[in-house]
Subunit: 244 residues, 2 copies
């Protein structure tokens, strides 16, 4: 078996969200990432590989391809032996316990990927995304999560509706909030992180009173702001450090 | 005045470190970044702009270019009105006080840029880099620091020599160290962060006894590791939080 024109067209098409939703499939690449996804409950649709690899996959799911064929369907600079198509799992009902991270229009796939990895590290099981947050099945996100995407439940929903109805206390990361180092933080909460350029949207801002700030230490106080992923890491660390 | 072939060749050449060192120049782009650099003590070599902009720059430093010309010399997808050449400042003697971050072979320009921004935010005035760490005048680094690069002193040096001779206590970020949340951290120290794939080098590891770990909270304990920039943000926060 080798790569058909239709397969190539399908795979390249999955770089776009509308096609991912239409076919209910997403792409992952490279031995490390594919191995992580195979450990999860994700359903495999097809594997394209240049190598003897993946003995446990049913052979009708595997297509052997040449290096050149792999290059045609890969979005990596250096394709790494295998590309897989996986079914996008059905969204489960959002969890309502523990510490939950919510994202208010995060646009950068690298930031979303880093935040998913952080959730996994800090034992955050639920990530809630506003509908205008970048799609977590975007290939750049999938690649950068290194498998964490299978261990964090991700829901896309109407964020202001969610904030209005949750029974958990809601916090936002804000430039003019309470010093996080001097705040008593609950173990169960929703922490909302805002857009890279504009921060928390007005709609959410009006709904939330608990605003947290990571204070600046620089003398000159010129640093514009922390990147949203690094801010998330510091705030997550603050929510979790007392549990250690 | 418009763009000459020689200027174009020079500017594109500066994408390589050897040419930056030869000409002692680096490139920055976009109104925001250029404005930040102009606020600093950096010396301007030349400004190429499509716009009426920068009234305070001597006119012999300014070359008006067309959008098309700017596109030819830009490394941005969407060139933003101005590209500047700045002189690489002479390295000052490393500072020996306060909290110092040291990097042991950081390869990714985005990670270095984020760490420079974090140093600026947390008032860390000195960043020490092993000679095999990515060049801070790499354009991706310059762009991602958003001007912080002018407010943090950066030295490239023999890291093991530095670690051997510093009078400050030295810490490394390590997977098997002491829980950072339970550690008493000094206000003056050197914190060494390791390579993205391999962590701290053997050479440095042998010299340092104070190893700090950010504990994992996930049940499954499968997350491979934190990205070096997010790990730096959490450790910096821990070193600084008691000062607030």
């Amino acid at each position: 078996m080798s790569l058909s024109k239709n397969q190539q067209k399908l795979i390249l098409g999955l770089q776009q969200k509308k096609n991912r939703n239409k076919h209910n499939l997403f792409v992952a690449e490279g031995i490390k990432v594919i191995n992580e996804l195979l450990k999860s409950s994700l359903e495999i649709d097809a594997i394209f590989t240049t190598d003897d690899f993946l003995p446990d996959i049913p052979s009708n799911k595997i297509t052997r391809v040449s290096e050149q064929e792999l290059k045609k369907i890969s979005s990596l600079k250096t394709p790494n032996k295998v590309l897989g198509l996986f079914k996008i799992p059905e969204e489960k009902k959002p969890q309502t316990k523990g510490l939950i991270i919510a994202l208010d229009e995060i646009n950068d796939p690298g930031n979303l990927g880093t935040i998913i990895r952080l959730c996994d590290w800090f034992g955050v099981k639920q990530l809630v995304c506003s509908k205008n947050t970048v799609d977590c099945y975007n290939q750049k996100v999938v690649q950068s999560t290194m498998g964490s995407i299978t261990r964090v439940q991700i829901n896309y929903l109407d964020l202001s509706e969610y904030v209005k109805t949750t029974t958990l206390p809601v916090f936002t990361a804000d430039m003019d909030g309470k010093n996080v180092y001097k705040s008593q933080l609950p173990t169960e909460a929703v922490l909302v992180m805002g857009n890279e350029a504009n921060g928390i949207s007005d709609e959410i801002n009006e709904l939330v009173n608990n605003k947290l700030t990571i204070p600046r230490f620089g003398d000159l106080q010129q640093t514009e702001s922390l990147n949203v992923a690094t801010a998330t890491s510091i705030l997550l660390s603050e929510f979790k450090r007392s549990l250690e």
